[in-house]
């Protein structure tokens, strides 16, 4: 009994000690773990890094909310303060369809009710419910989000707000800065274009014209806001934050008068459509100051819709050099008179002359017999000007060419300006330049030279920017008219002017078509041969650059209008007649507008209803105004704000005038039933859409249904019926 009891005691003693020692081992592990924790915490705090990552830096980065404050791009205004190019925000809509996109509290942030979304969006986007549903159910089942094509882009804030008010789940917007060109086709190449840069968070960057040249002035400087926030976006107290305000871009005021510009655009469009020239240029300039009042080119593009932008990217007014032809005789005549080498009463045999074995012809190869030199300018006789050039000598002529600013940039401040060139080695070359062949000039150089004639011998630098206003400082930089030089005397200038007057009013003058009742006009016409790239010159009736340079009033010119037209495709009229369709009404409008401002006493003329500027206004308010005046309005597009109008501001209105309002948002097809062909063309001008006609009379059928989205790339067939 004692033995087993003692044995059990022993066993129990062993078990007890085993348990204790095991406990000590476990305790040792626990102590070790505690020490590891102490070490680890100290390491993290003292070292400040884990996994080779600096924790302080990383977490600061995480808390920092760094947002860019976009600077407003400056507005480009015309001479009287109408906006030509201004900043606007455009919104693009997108829908999240991924069902995994939920909030932290598991509420869906994706489109839950596709039918409702389609129904609501179809009211604001130019898309049918069916089409929207198709977008919302893409083929790619893993798509996270979908967009709605061009119809979902360029939405205004109003449209965005209207859609937001419906509280649609899963519908979101992105904000992209955009540029509004409310006048559409309006010195488009000269004003230029912008594109949003991917580098600096969608900031707009000028890519053409003044937008490009003055980009740094217009762009301003983006600001930023740096603050430390929690994950809900609330600012953290006691943490530094920094805000640097954006410096808005400066506003640029141009010398362009938008009333004259609009009129010029419509005249140019009409002629362009009717006679289909390869290209045209037109510049209206004030010779006293060099201020460009209107300038444009064809082909052009609609700055707002960008329709036609692909055709010509160059600003042909400064970037194209061409042989100007007979308008150059203005300068050779000036040179001869000013240098005292002009003998108007000398006679010469017109028709043709031979120089170093090459025959130079007058435009009428038969000539006009033996005539005095004084008629050479009026008749635009090349032979006469060969004589004049030979009379003053090559050095004198070259000197005057330089004095008139040729072969040198005008530095008007437009990108890509060319300086021109000349071929002047051989006597033949020298003779040819006297009537504008063998010398390449830009249209801008031509008008610059012409200011000397119109401004009593003082040549003014062409000017497009009149002032720049910095909205941050209020500082205004005004550009004063700049005299380049005085190539000729006042006397010479008036002699040349009267010679130009003769071109219009002498029976044998080449410019009688340019008469404007009520005003004296001084003109020089030109028909320049176009160099054949294969050598020599192009032949054929229309392979010329036709041009006219005119000034009015002839005694003391207020306006110089220079128009060129290259290779008309449809010469159903004489070239002078075609050019006069722009020149005469334009010059008349300019003259009468200055009459208005000079003498308000002129009460004999009937009160003219002219089209007000309605761009930027709300569609409904414009419609009501127009209805009061019994005018028909047609709205194109889904927006609620007018971005373009036809007729343009300042144009005359008749009771039958049809008013077109292009709105923001997607362009949509109006119902054109009963419209005239001219109406449809106007629509084409406004939207950039091409129309094909069949039949005659008024519109009976249109290939694109009303309210469909207009795409400037497709051609719409219109069937007309009497």
């Amino acid at each position: 009994m004692k033995q087993p009891r003692k044995k059990r005691m022993m066993k129990s003693k062993n078990a007890h000690s085993n348990r204790q020692r095991t406990g000590i081992a476990v305790l040792a592990v626990m102590v070790a773990v505690f020490l590891v924790f102490v070490f680890r915490f100290s390491y993290l705090v003292v070292g400040g890094s884990a996994d080779h990552v600096n924790l302080t830096e990383r977490s600061k980065q995480k808390y920092t909310d760094d947002s860019t404050i976009l600077a407003r791009r400056g507005t480009i205004y015309d001479a009287i303060g109408n906006p030509i190019a201004e900043d606007a925000n455009a919104y693009s809509i997108y829908a999240v369809i991924d069902k995994d996109y939920v909030s932290t509290t598991n509420k869906p942030l994706y489109v839950t009710n596709k039918k409702k979304v389609a129904r609501v969006l179809s009211q604001y986007l130019s898309l049918s419910q069916k089409k929207i549903l198709a977008y919302l159910n893409p083929k790619n089942k893993n798509a996270f989000q979908v967009e709605f094509g061009s119809a979902g882009q360029n939405l205004t804030l109003d449209i965005k707000n209207a859609i937001t008010a419906h509280h649609l789940k899963g519908i979101y917007f992105t904000n992209t800065p955009s540029r509004l060109y409310p006048n559409g086709i309006f010195a488009s190449h000269l004003i230029g274009q912008v594109s949003s840069s991917t580098k600096s968070s969608g900031k707009l960057v000028g890519t053409m014209g003044l937008e490009k040249q003055y980009n740094t002035v217009l762009a301003g400087k983006n600001g930023y806001k740096k603050s430390q926030v929690d994950s809900y976006g609330y600012k953290l107290d006691n943490r530094p934050s920094k805000t640097v305000k954006a410096k808005d871009g400066s506003n640029i005021y141009l010398t362009i008068d938008s009333r004259l510009q609009s009129y010029l655009e419509s005249l140019m469009s009409k002629v362009n459509r009717k006679y289909q020239p390869a290209s045209m240029n037109a510049i209206l300039i004030d010779p006293k100051t060099g201020k460009i009042l209107a300038a444009t080119q064809r082909p052009t593009f609609n700055a707002q819709t960008q329709a036609g932008l692909g055709t010509v990217w160059r600003d042909t007014l400064v970037e194209d050099a061409y042989e100007p032809g007979s308008v150059m005789k203005v300068f050779s005549l000036s040179a001869a008179i000013n240098s005292g080498k002009y003998h108007p009463n000398d006679y010469y045999q017109s028709g043709s002359v031979e120089i170093d074995g090459t025959k130079v012809n007058d435009w009428d190869t038969a000539g006009w017999g033996t005539i005095p030199i004084s008629q050479a300018f009026t008749r635009s006789s090349n032979v006469g000007f060969v004589k004049i050039e030979q009379g003053m000598g090559k050095a004198t002529w070259k000197e005057y060419l330089k004095k008139f600013g040729f072969l040198k940039k005008t530095n008007i401040g437009l990108p890509g300006e060319v300086s021109g060139s000349i071929q002047y080695k051989q006597p033949l070359d020298q003779a040819l330049t006297a009537f504008g062949q063998g010398v390449d000039v830009s249209a801008m150089q031509m008008v610059q030279g012409l200011t000397a004639i119109g401004n009593g011998g003082k040549m003014m630098k062409p000017q497009i920017v009149s002032k720049i206003v910095n909205p941050n400082t209020g500082k205004t930089t005004t550009y004063k008219p700049q005299e380049v030089s005085q190539p000729i005397t006042k006397k010479t200038a008036s002699k040349v002017l009267s010679a130009m007057e003769d071109v219009v009013y002498k029976s044998y003058g080449t410019g009688s078509v340019y008469k404007i009742p009520g005003y004296k006009v001084a003109v020089k016409t030109g028909t320049a041969q176009i160099a054949n790239p294969k050598g020599g010159y192009l032949t054929g009736d229309s392979n010329y650059i036709f041009s006219v340079a005119g000034m009015a009033p002839a005694k003391n010119p207020k306006y110089i209008l220079y128009i060129t037209m290259k290779q008309p495709g449809n010469m159903s009229e004489a070239a002078e007649k075609i050019l006069s369709e722009v020149f005469n009404p334009m010059m008349k409008r300019a003259l009468s507008s200055s009459d208005d401002s000079d003498a308000t006493t002129d009460s004999t003329s009937e009160p003219i209803t002219s089209m007000p500027s309605v761009t930027g206004k709300s569609v409904t308010s414009v419609q009501t105004t127009m209805q009061k005046q019994d005018l028909t309005t047609t709205t194109i597009g889904t927006g609620n704000r007018v971005v373009q109008q036809l007729p343009r501001a300042g144009e005359q209105l008749t009771s039958s005038s049809h008013i077109y309002l292009l709105t923001n948002g997607a362009m949509t097809m109006p119902d054109m039933k009963g419209w005239s062909k001219a109406d449809v063309r106007e629509l084409g001008t406004l939207t950039g859409v091409k129309f094909k006609f069949s039949g005659s009379g008024t519109v009976a059928k249109q290939s694109l249904a009303p309210k469909s989205v207009l795409n400037s790339k497709e051609t719409i067939t219109v069937t007309l019926k009497e």
Binding site: A15, T22, G23, M30, V38, Y234
Partner: protein, 423 residues
């Protein structure tokens, strides 16, 4: 008859009160004081960490504060109840059997629920049973049950086990091991790998402390630790293809490279690091944490120590950790000193429980171990864990009181000698 019964009950409640008062005399203040401080810190930190998020969700900022204070109060009551009942009442075959049965049923219910009604899963794991406003976590009950069960069965045969070789011991306890393995399997199915690991660790500690030769126990302890570390390294190095697609593997990888995999599961650890780093030596001040404001998920449960470190600094965090470990060491010490096997095993089990939860929680938030989603004892918000721990602590208080009383009123000399010899 009725009056007799009533009398009996009166007598029993009277005895219980008398027992509780007697126990208070032998209360172990080395246990009580750290426990009270930790509960207090927990209440304050739960409030600080949860108030912002509650307000963001348009709820009362005091919601979790009030609940946590309720849990702490209930904890104190439960400890009092345990002191009144005493461990001897619980160390009873029928009682243990009943506890085991209840635990099995609850766990089985969860397994069934997982297959019948999978949508009831919270965070991918079905671990909760809603019982009249309370969310009961069966795995928490299982922790307590297993300690009681193992201590009960192993304490009876400790002296026999000391004579056995390792495999003999395994053979001798095979029935119990199968019972336990079944329970662990049910937890694993839920799936709750973390919970299963905690249970397994508690079981391991109690099982090796039954009295078997210290050679085997220590070898088993370090052997198991070694094997686990070895396996993890093998998985990291070899990246076996059958594992790489699993969720656990991605957790392991995001633990190793939290910054590279920040968007694929590393964010929690990264944000925990930021919190610790923000805190620096003395913290940003109570209530001023940035990380709790939406950056760190669950700031008042799994990552409460991260927020605490941010607000109270390294110094504050280490004091809290020191208190927690002091409590654990103290429980171990009571176990080591305990004269009876049962008391000793209870203490080892409870200490192992506290220790392994702390290890997983603190290890996870400080980047030593993968994040397992385990709460920090006494500090984290949550009722189930806190109340179960209170019962466990109640037992330890009772054991400690017994030990103290026996120390003051000397018993047979042999036992005392034995004790002195081994401390």
């Amino acid at each position: 008859m009725a009056t007799k019964k009533e009398n009996k009950r009166k007598k029993r409640t009277g005895a219980m009160r008398k027992r509780f008062m007697a126990r208070l005399r032998y209360l172990d203040y080395f246990l009580l004081i750290p426990y009270l401080i930790l509960c207090g810190v927990g209440v304050v930190m739960v409030y600080s960490a949860s108030a912002d998020q509650l307000m963001m969700n348009n709820q009362s900022p005091q919601l979790y504060l009030n609940k946590q204070m309720l849990y702490v109060t209930l904890s104190f009551l439960l400890i009092a109840v345990m002191l009144s009942i005493g461990w001897k009442q619980i160390n009873d075959s029928a009682m243990i059997g009943l506890l085991m049965l209840i635990t099995y049923i609850l766990l089985f219910y969860l397994v069934v629920l997982k297959y019948v009604h999978p949508s009831s899963a919270v965070n991918g794991a079905t671990g909760w049973i809603a019982l009249g406003g309370f969310n009961v976590q069966p795995v928490e009950i299982a922790k307590l049950t297993l300690i009681l069960y193992l201590a009960h069965v192993l304490a009876k045969h400790g002296h026999e086990y000391s004579q056995l070789k390792f495999w003999g011991y395994v053979k001798a306890t095979r029935k119990q091991l199968v019972c336990i393995a079944l329970m662990l399997a049910m937890v694993l199915i839920q799936p709750d790998l973390g919970g299963m690991a905690i249970l397994a660790f508690i079981v391991l500690i109690v099982w090796i402390s039954s009295g078997i030769s210290v050679r085997y126990s220590v070898t088993t302890l370090f052997g198991t630790i070694g094997i686990i570390i070895g396996l993890v390294f093998a998985v990291i190095k070899l990246k076996p293809s059958f594992l790489t697609s699993s969720y656990k593997f991605s957790r392991l990888m995001s633990f190793l490279h939290p910054f590279q995999l920040e968007n694929k599961g590393g964010a929690q650890l990264v944000n925990s690091y930021y919190a610790i780093n923000n805190g620096s030596w003395f913290g940003v001040g109570l209530g001023n944490s940035i990380q709790k404001r939406g950056y760190l998920p669950e700031p008042y449960t799994d990552f409460i120590l991260s927020i605490t470190t941010e607000e109270l600094g390294l110094v504050g965090a280490l004091i809290i950790l020191a208190l927690l470990f002091f409590l654990i060491f103290r429980i171990m010490l009571i176990g080591i000193r305990a004269k009876s096997a049962y008391r000793s095993l209870i203490c080892y089990g409870v200490a192992a429980w506290l220790f392994v939860q702390t290890l997983f929680n603190v290890g996870g938030m400080s980047g030593i171990l993968p994040i397992t989603g385990v709460t920090l004892p006494f500090i984290s918000y949550g009722g189930s864990s806190m109340l179960m721990l209170a019962i466990a602590l109640g037992l330890v208080f009772d054991v400690a009181a017994d030990e103290k009383r026996e120390q003051r009123t000397p018993k047979p000399v042999q036992l005392k000698k034995e004790e002195e010899a081994h401390v």
